[in-house]
Amino acid sequence: MIRKVTLALVASLVSMTLLAQTGGVKGTVLNRVDRTPVTNAELTLFQGAQEIATAKTDESGNFLIERLEDGIYDLVVKASEFLETRVNVTVNDGYVKNMFNITLTQSRSEIMDEIFEEFDMDDSGYNDNPVILFDQNDVFNSVAGYNFSSVRFNPRGYSSESQDVLLAGVKMNDAITGYSPFSLWSGLNEATRTKYTVTGSEVSDYGLGGYNGLTNIPANASNVRKGLRGSVLTNSALYRLRLMMTYSSGMNDKGWAYAVSASARLGGNDWIDGVYYRSFGYYASVEKKFNDVHRLAATFMATPGSRGAQNASTQEVYDLMGDNMYNSNWGYQNGKIRNSRIRKTHEPIAILKYDYTPNDKFKASATLLYRFGKNGYTAIDWYDAQDPRPDYYRNLPSYFWMENRDFGRRNMFKYAAAKEAWTHSSLYPEMTHVNWERLYDVNRNNLEGVAGIPRSKYISEERRVDQRDLNFAGSFKWNTNSWLTLSGGLNAKINRTENYKIVDDLLGGYYFVDIDSFAEREYASAAAKVQNDLDYYLAHGEARRLYKGDKFGYDYYAQIRNIEAWLNGRFAVGNFSADLGGKIGYSSFWREGLVRKGLFPGLKPDGTDYIIDGVNLSRDSEGNLLPTSYGKSEVKGFLTYAGKLGLNYMIGGRMRIYGNVGFFNDAPNFNMAFMSPRTRNTTVDNLTTTKTFTSDLNWQFTGNGFNARITGYYTYIWDQTDVMSAFDDMQNAFSNFALSGIDERHYGIEVGFKVPTPVPNLSIQGVVSAGRYEYTSNPTMVQTIDNSAEPVEYGGFTTLLIPFWKSTPIFKRDGSGNPTYEIDHYQRHYIPSTPQLATSLGLSYNYNYWYIDGDVEYFDGAYLDMNPLYRTDYATGGPDGIVTPTEVEYMTTQEKFDAAWLVNFSIGKSWYIQRKYQLGFSLNAKNILNNKNVKTGGYEQTRIVDNTVGNERYYRFDPKYFYMSGVNYMLNVYFRF
């Protein structure tokens, strides 16, 4: 026992006189299911709302808090992957109160980060990066995070960019997009298991955060559970096998701790062909505690590997294939499935972290973090050849025959032929999947370039986004006196991301050429103008020939610099506490072109125009100077700031009512600021910061096996910008659409509870998330033609209002059911992809190391991602320019996905062997009703059917969808000692 006590971690005490501080509290924190110790659990002792002391459990789950004066306290216990609990403690007569065992309820099973890994949306401009609910201490997040992940639930409808994810105190959200970067460490679950999370707009010790929570993953050796752990996992929805082995020494007597971990994720799955993992993970961390004051940790980790991606298709394709899991990215090569879209990554992270704890009242840390390596995504590229995508719209039956005669597609013979192929995919795989053999054949036989040497028309290219990301984060926490705790910090980032393409595979040919095939459609006879590398062309008189590994297409740096300081004060008086904090910073970014493109060469170094073969490349047909692709763009800089106020009132130790308000002024991300960064330096006009106001009110109860939270929230976000690129049939050109002034509103309630039933060991648990996440403005749009940078004029104006962005007018019907011109009501448009209503109700049974969970879930109110073009007067007007109610309703309505019921079931058990080893398993079955018709996301294509027979109206292209997989399981067998 003495040894255990000496191993207990540091406790801190504030605002008490030493003479009276003779009592204390001690105990052991255990897992309620298997009675195993919970290490690194955080214990915080409160008196009212005032934080008195904090401590952590040691490797045996023990804790000790000393030097307490007599009184009644509330002890809050939190640990990663367990629900928070609160217990009352009374210290009297100066004794150390022994709490014996405090048991924690395990939160839901491990969330597979991988189910969130981004969909393959490169071609559409659509992104659907999810939010992960890391906060497993909270009952709502624990249940929703696991149960709702399969429908890509985003809490409160917020986007991924709004969630702050920190590694060792450094914000890791992608510098270009702002997305959560979980793929950098997914697969290293054991090493990154410890997490410190706050929800909504609460303030964390690690940063002021935003309005969508903050999670810090310390990832240093002493935060990895001591001992050797191994697990074997198989599942049917992602990959066949995950092997993971982790060893952590714990902190030894000399103050050293080290931890290593390695993992492999391998194989395909039951549902989507072509999707596979071949990913590995490695992690090493060493930590030295010099004394109680200084601590230094060095960590190095990465998850190298590759994985095959899936793609979205239209419902027509899914129906023809009889499979909503059809993936158009792959085809057979020599009888083997080959996926054209492979994510290949190796982005190591090196961390050096220093902690300084001079006394119980002050602690500070400083982290230097460097991320580097490569991140690539393959795709088929082609020049002067047919579109190789099997589900290209001209390959589908609907291209040949449509019931609606206005489409002018009336050839039943061709329709039947196309349908024959698509409905007998196994007989005609070359038509319904990527026809690799044809691509090789075409390349080998293309001898019309350099005599006798085949030039590839099709290649596999790898689009690289290689980051060099250097970060510094410093923070402190200072208990100044009994009623004020200050925390604050300084963060700085220097990011240089190189965006370029390389030739990944020449697919049977010997070389490729560096020509812009889109430009060539328009400037076929101006050879200099279609060059991706004009300088090479001018020096050599021909387009550059490309070989495997060569850079081509585009090459530019995204340069980003951020600096930010934050400060928060926590005031506590009696049962009341308040947080008041703010941050201020400056963000800047610019583009730096590394190659000179023929379309946008800028001026020569001597300031004159590029005039090649009589064509002035530097200017448009009206003599205006075109933007440049080469060199440094204008630097965009933004002052950012935020303020937060949080109020918290404790009632009886286990209940608290708290609320937060906040205002944020955030810089736009790089990817929202440049019209077409692959080709030129042009930025979006009138670029401004995004503003957010948020507020929430919460009630929470924790203790005695009860956990419950009810939250109401309201958030308003305005002045957002967005840029998307797509082919526009009305302009007959690849176009860029820059949207400004996108406003949205999010409000609703969250309820989460887990309560014991009269049946021993049986709890009932449930969550409800009911909200409205809706657009509240009609933004403006500037469209430019990619080849010319020329803003498209609509009625003489280049800035176009999108009048049907936030809602669709629904018109009154006449006696025949036809719409009249009188508006009946407006149908709102919603933030897409995430359900606006998500509910779960289940039972949880724990007994004798067994756990059994079952849940029924219901989702409704998920919507399709919209494109702006369909919601303009020009799209609704059609060729004749007359906007009719029928066209407005057809073209602008946002599709709502069907509601869905799902049932999940989990079972698990662990065994202790010789009181030393632990073996266990968990089996999670999801969607056991095998519902294969649940749409989890999708997007509208930007394209329009504009050559209609009646010449009066346009039609949409069919949207593309993603579906959830049917019944799937995950079996995890693990051992620990």
């Binding site: 080959r338 039943m412 060539e520 328009e522």
Partner: protein, 364 residues
Amino acid sequence: MKKTRLFITALCVAAVSAASCEEWDPVFTGKYEMPEKVKPVEKTANTTIAELKQMYIDNGNKPVEITGDVMIAGQVISSDRSGNIYRELYIQDETGAIDVKIGKSSLYSDYHLGQWVYVDCNGLMIGSYSGMPQLGVEDETGEYETAYIDAQYIIDTHIFRGEIGKMPEPQEISENDLPRAISQGGFKSPLFGKLVKMNGLTYGAKSSYSTDHYKRIFALLYIDPSKDKGAQSNRIFLSDKTYGVTTWAMSKSKFLENLNAGLFDSARTGDGRAIDAEIKQSLRDNAAAVTMSQYFSFGTTDVQIRTSGFSKFCDNEIDPLILGDPSSSQADGAPVSVTGILTIYNGSAQFTLIDETGVKIINQ
């Protein structure tokens, strides 16, 4: 305890074996071997192209849906590499040539010059486009006599690629051959659709009903292509003179350059309206590549050399030696030899260059 261990061991074994189970399609992530080269198809034709075209004549010069075992064979003589031929493939045998309306782009990727192509005509349709024989499928709208084949399933089950042979030499035709061929018509004459060479063309053509200008082009512009293309008020014919256009056709950028330079200011709409600022703005807003003909004479016969606005050589300047004096009303340009595909359109000869090398000034 033994039981427990046994159970756990069994679970581990089950998990690992489940992960490697044969019934799951294994995922290959190694280096893919190159597919074998596609072997040329070997088939035997039972019908000549002339016999195929005769079916149309035998049907009273009406489109025929071919039934039964009708297999033709021909060598590829066209290439869409330069972009001047689009979605069509010309093949020829010893008896004639035919335009196969495959309906796909970049056909030269799959069908190489000189390559033997076998077409199982069963289910296909032979018809005419303004006199030019075409092999496609039935146009169920009735607008045209044939439609593009373009459904991959039909292509793969009807059109087969054989050996790549020697590219046939172009057939030289004389000034006298052309009027005779025109009088025979597209289905009777073996020349239409064939690779031919004509020596001695000169720039310009005899006056027509619409103009007295000897040197002229033909192009049709739509003021707003999204509106009724049949309305004369929406059409501008550039057909009565050259308008100063000295290229084979006009890409979008070339058209805009010419428009902004005022080259078309003197044109009229189909209903006689002058090109005012409003029309000009609409032309600018709806600018697109312009497919165009340049008029030449071969003896006494007009030949329109028709070039796509999407071809890679469309903006290339025609040699001034070929054009001669733009204001001259006689054939004062250098005579040229042209090699390409001869076609017929409403009783007039048209000529399609496979690429710009098909034009040579004689004796230069």
